[in-house]
């Protein structure tokens, strides 16, 4: 599904990613771990198409299509979804209106009919229950005045509605208490199927107790220095990131 080769990326002239290789197949969950500043969020944002990052080398293919040629909205319409580390507040735009607009733009781009307001409402009511999202959040402006946990749940809720093929969760666990973490993880797990895939970016092993990955990659100084299965996450948790810094990465 996704094939990243020798990816180099800069922000404000500073090189952050220094040659990433990663392949993600349908049905897989990949965890990307690493200390602060290793480039985890950069990778997530480059995949989503954030304009501030310049890709200087390498390729990203989504089903043999060059992802780097696509705008953020085109990527979303092809099934890429980024759950933001810091979800953005948008005053004056209701959550429901925002989501329906997004869903219909994606549906239109994929040759599907737009969903009318009644069908949409019925569908999202169902999905909200799953994410344990408060009904009144639907009619409030996007993320405005939401608690940290509500914002993260709202990201997962959007994911549940838009049903992406490849979801990238950028430190969705940061700042969540254990109950919210469980809700978020349940949301992800209930969406997992053999056709979609997840990249879970996290600093801590904790989230991976709930979202069990097929593969774990350790990112350090802009490169994947170690890949393995879920046991690697436990090993990292035990030994800490200093273990990498002492040269054990390679």
């Amino acid at each position: 599904m996704l094939k990243i080769q020798n990816l180099h990326a800069n922000i404000e002239g500073k090189e952050i990613l220094k040659g990433i290789d990663l392949q993600v197949n349908p049905g897989e969950v990949h965890a990307i771990m690493g200390p602060n500043g290793s480039g985890k969020s950069t990778l997530a944002n480059v995949l989503a198409g954030r304009e501030e990052y310049q890709v200087t080398q390498g390729t990203i293919l989504l089903d043999d299509q060059n992802l780097l040629e696509l705008s953020p909205e085109e990527r979303a319409r092809k099934g890429i979804f980024l759950a933001f580390q810091y979800p953005v507040e948008i005053p004056g735009v209701s959550n429901a209106y925002f989501l329906r607009t997004a869903l219909n733009e994606i549906r239109k781009a994929n040759g599907l009919e737009e969903m009318d307001a009644a069908d949409f409402l019925m569908m999202i009511r169902r999905k909200m229950k799953k994410i344990e999202l408060d009904n009144d959040l639907l009619h409030r402006p996007v993320n405005e005045g939401f608690s940290g946990g509500e914002k993260k749940k709202n990201e997962i809720f959007q994911m549940a509605v838009l049903e992406p093929r490849l979801a990238i969760l950028d430190e969705t666990d940061s700042g969540l208490d254990i109950d919210a973490l469980r809700v978020v993880a349940n949301g992800v797990n209930s969406l997992r199927n053999e056709k979609n895939a997840f990249i879970v970016v996290t600093h801590y092993q904790r989230l991976l107790d709930y979202i069990v990955p097929d593969f774990v990659h350790v990112l350090y100084k802009g490169q994947i220095v170690k890949s393995g299965t879920k046991e690697l996450a436990l090993e990292l948790e035990e030994k800490g990131y200093d273990w990498l810094k002492n040269g054990n990465g390679r």
Partner: protein, 435 residues
């Protein structure tokens, strides 16, 4: 033209008035013209006009607009100016003169519509004109008083609920020669009465003209007026409008002033809260593009205790457009327990657009709550990326954010048909600036 020439130019117009005797205001008009001659038009160094350069207006030798030939205009040709699904009267004031021929549904109304040509009302109207702050506020309002060709008077008696919104279209006919038009509106809402009023300014033809209008609004005890003012004049027109609002005890005035037309426009509202428990809400939205200049000046004068005023103006400016906002809240010595909030926020869609904002609080009472805030910014890139990352296209995403910003100033328009109509104006503006 320099000041001397301008005054001479308008003197000629004044002397040449075809109807000066007819409307029974000769003495008032003479006095106002003397006032205009003394004041002239505002100069760039006047603090109140510092950001608004009116010199392009002064270079044009305007003539007094002539009567509109009603038979030459089909009532249907004005359809696009009326708000659909509003059943109230549709009043046309063409080139400043009430046009009964083009107006619709003037009969069987719960209030009176009259003009200076109605002998029975002429005296009352003259009294309002005489006592209006327009007589000597500044050169523009003095000139309106001396050169207006009619005054439209809406008189709502006490204890009357005017259910259907009343629409007034101030139509400028437009012509080859640049014309000056001096619309005058007087509204009185009697005790315990209420009304919704839409006051709009437009032209059927793109042309150069100058609207210099004055509205005098009187809201009696416990009465309420919802007022939407829509300035949608031609792109090459000039529009200077003054609204003088006077509120009695426990009255409510809710205004939304929308400016989208004209090359240079200014709307000044002053609301005088002259009885305790009065409430004023001034909202405004200005949408500019090209090289437009849109100026809004407001003055809220808290004379009495226990009054509230809320004010929110929002501006969206594209290209090289300029916005000016000046809002003054004056709390007089006796106006204890005043609660006043003022906000002005601007959204700039280009590097060359600009807003000058000047909030002023002048407080002489000690037990009051007054706040003000002003911001000017550009579209939030983070929010834009967030919307796009969910599949929403760039232009749609921009439109959503601009709409959300602007909409805040329209929230208090309670009538759904009016709101839908205004939304349509907003959407047209976005389409024009979003290409």
């Amino acid at each position: 033209m320099d000041t001397k020439n301008i005054i001479e130019h308008f003197s000629n117009l004044y002397a040449g008035q075809i109807d000066s005797g007819k409307i029974g205001l000769a003495a008032i008009r003479d006095e106002a013209f003397a006032r205009f001659s003394a004041l002239g038009f505002p100069k760039p160094k006047d603090e109140e006009w510092r950001f608004t350069d009116i010199s392009p207006l002064l270079d044009i030798p305007f003539t007094q607009a002539s009567d509109v030939d009603e038979s030459g205009i089909l009532a249907q040709s004005l359809d696009s100016f009326w708000i659909p699904d509003v059943d109230g009267p549709k009043i046309v004031v063409a080139n400043g003169v009430l046009s009964k021929g083009l107006s619709q549904r003037l009969n069987n109304l719960p209030f009176k519509i009259s003009s200076v040509y109605d002998a029975k009302q002429a005296k009352v109207i003259a009294e309002f004109v005489k006592n209006s702050p327009a007589a000597d506020s500044n050169g523009f309002t003095a000139l309106n008083t001396s050169l207006m060709r009619d005054a439209l008077f809406l008189d709502v008696p006490a204890n009357t609920n005017v259910r259907e919104p009343v629409q007034i279209l101030f139509l400028s006919s437009g012509s080859e020669k640049p014309q000056a038009i001096f619309p005058r509106l007087i509204v009185r809402i009697g005790r315990n009465s209420r009304m919704t009023l839409i006051e709009s300014y437009a032209s059927r033809h793109e042309s150069i003209y100058f609207v210099n209008g004055v509205s005098d609004i009187h809201i009696e005890e416990n009465a309420s007026l919802h007022h939407v003012r829509l300035q949608a004049d031609s792109a090459s027109a000039f529009h200077i409008g003054h609204s003088f609002v006077e509120q009695k005890q426990d009255s409510r005035y809710q205004s939304c002033s929308i400016s989208i037309g004209s090359r240079i426009s200014r709307h000044h509202i002053s609301a005088i809260l002259d009885g305790s428990g009065a409430e004023t809400r001034l909202d405004g939205l200005y949408l500019g593009k090209g090289e437009q200049l849109l100026d809004n000046h407001t003055l809220i004068d808290h004379k009495a205790a226990h009054c509230q005023s809320h004010e929110l103006y929002r501006g969206v400016l594209a290209d090289k457009a300029r916005g000016v906002f000046s809002g003054k809240i004056l709390v007089e010595r006796n106006a204890q327990k005043t609660d006043a909030i003022q906000n002005n926020n601007g959204l700039l869609l280009s590097e060359e657009a600009r807003i000058d904002s000047k909030p002023q609080l002048e407080i002489y009472a000690d037990d009051v709550r007054c706040t003000h805030g002003a911001t000017v910014g550009q579209l939030d890139d983070e929010a834009l990326f967030y919307l796009k990352s969910r599949g929403i296209g760039h232009n749609t995403a921009k439109g959503i954010l601009i709409y959300a910003f602007a909409e805040e100033a329209l929230k208090n328009i309670e009538s759904k048909p009016i709101r839908t109509y205004v939304d349509g104006i907003l959407n047209r503006f976005f389409r024009e600036v979003n290409t």
